[in-house]
Amino acid sequence: MIPIEARLARKALKGDQQAFAEIVGLYQDKLYHMAFRMLGSRQEAEDVVQEAFLRVYRNLDRYDEGMKFSTWIYRIATNLCIDRLRKRKATYSLDAESTEHEGLDGYAVIPSDDRTPESEMLLSETQRIVRQAIDTLPAKYKSVMVLRYLHDLSLQEIGEVLDMPVTTVKTRVHRGREYLRKKLERKL
């Protein structure tokens, strides 16, 4: 049996706009949630989701049905988020002096802007502190942690999404966990 996404992808490839709209319906929330956790900005998360679906659409004919559709679409969206985080870091690391927040690689990490006030209000103080700690992770750790704890992906699946060996994923999860443990130990 062909998974529903693969069937929709085939239809969309033949020009069926409704099928593509269904793919958007199935994954929009998942991608948005992930992008928002990665980028911390509503605007940027929406831009990434839009760009991700556009790439999906353009590359439907390259989708390999041997891979889970979710793996493929997460890969596209994660790469877009990582790119943005890197660009952001590149921009901000130009202003030196901000040594207060330091990520794992020793890069200065900037607090994200335009967070949505309404969703922020829902957060407890604890969540805010945890979120801030996560925000100080460099992109390559952050993406692994978001896939792991938001989407509950197995280390194997994360490896497939990020196109890296599972041993690398493991190392990153371990370091990320270790880093956050230390970071939160003092605050919570």
């Binding site: 020009g15 706009q17 593509f20 709209a21 958007v24 319906g25 929009q28 929330d29 948005y32 949630h33 928002f36 956790r37 929406e46 989701v49 839009q50 679906f53 556009l54 659409y57 353009r58 004919d61 949505t116 309404e118 969703s119 829902l122 957060l123 604890t126 969540q127 945890v130 979120r131 996560i134 942690m145 978001v146 792991r148 704890y149 938001l150 197995s154 280390l155 493991k170 999860v173 371990h174 966990r177 956050l180 443990r181 939160l184 130990e185 919570l188």
Partner: protein, 206 residues
């Protein structure tokens, strides 16, 4: 088991990958090592916080969702353009060939422009008279076939049984002149193409 080994196993445990026999060894170590026990509790707390903080709802309304869906569906190209895109991707050679052709044509024209020498081409040049940069088809003469002149002036008094093409030059027809085919002057067009090509090539190079 030392504490570093225990720490490694703790990570395995939280990854969900801890083998059964390792689990009992870890348990034994934790039983006798308060530091590792505390560390284990910290990891457990961190795990919980991570799940909670990352998986917490993001507070999006149905309207936000609909607006983004709309934006996405509007941004994807229609059917026809995607077919062209796919075709170009299936045959990347076409794009490359077109690009290469463009570049070759540009350099060809560039060398051509520098070369102000008179060039006369045609299948029948026997009755043609050349005076300086003038190419004359004299009275009563007949050229059988096309005549192409570059960087010169065509003076046609007789007859051309074919097309006359003058590139970067001018055409001077006598009232007696007769051109069976088409008479064309293409320097204007050429300038324009050259200008367009040059800017394209410069864009590509930059």
């Amino acid at each position: 088991m030392n504490c570093a080994q225990a720490s490694r196993l703790m990570h395995e445990y939280f990854d969900g990958d801890l083998a059964h026999e390792d689990a009992s060894e870890l348990k034994a170590h934790l039983g006798g090592c308060p530091e590792c026990r505390e560390r284990f509790n910290d990891y457990e707390r961190t795990e919980g916080f991570l799940h909670m903080a990352l998986a917490a709802p993001v507070g999006r309304t149905e309207a936000d969702r609909a607006a983004l869906t709309d934006r996405i569906l509007k941004s994807v190209p229609g059917r026809r353009s995607r077919r062209l895109a796919r075709w170009l991707r299936q045959y990347p050679g076409v794009t490359v060939a077109a690009m290469l052709g463009l570049v070759l044509l540009a350099s060809f024209i560039a060398s051509w422009e520098q070369d102000q020498e008179l060039v006369v081409r045609g299948s029948d040049l026997s009755q043609i008279v050349i005076e300086g940069n003038k190419v004359v088809v004299p009275e009563g003469a007949r050229v059988d076939g096309d005549l192409i002149i570059e960087n010169g002036e065509a003076v046609v008094v007789g007859e051309i049984r074919g097309n006359l093409t003058v590139i970067d030059g001018s055409v001077n027809m006598a009232s007696t002149a007769k051109v069976i085919g088409e008479a064309r002057e293409i320097n204007q067009a050429l300038d324009w193409i050259w200008y367009k090509l040059r800017s394209t090539v410069i864009d590509l190079a930059s």
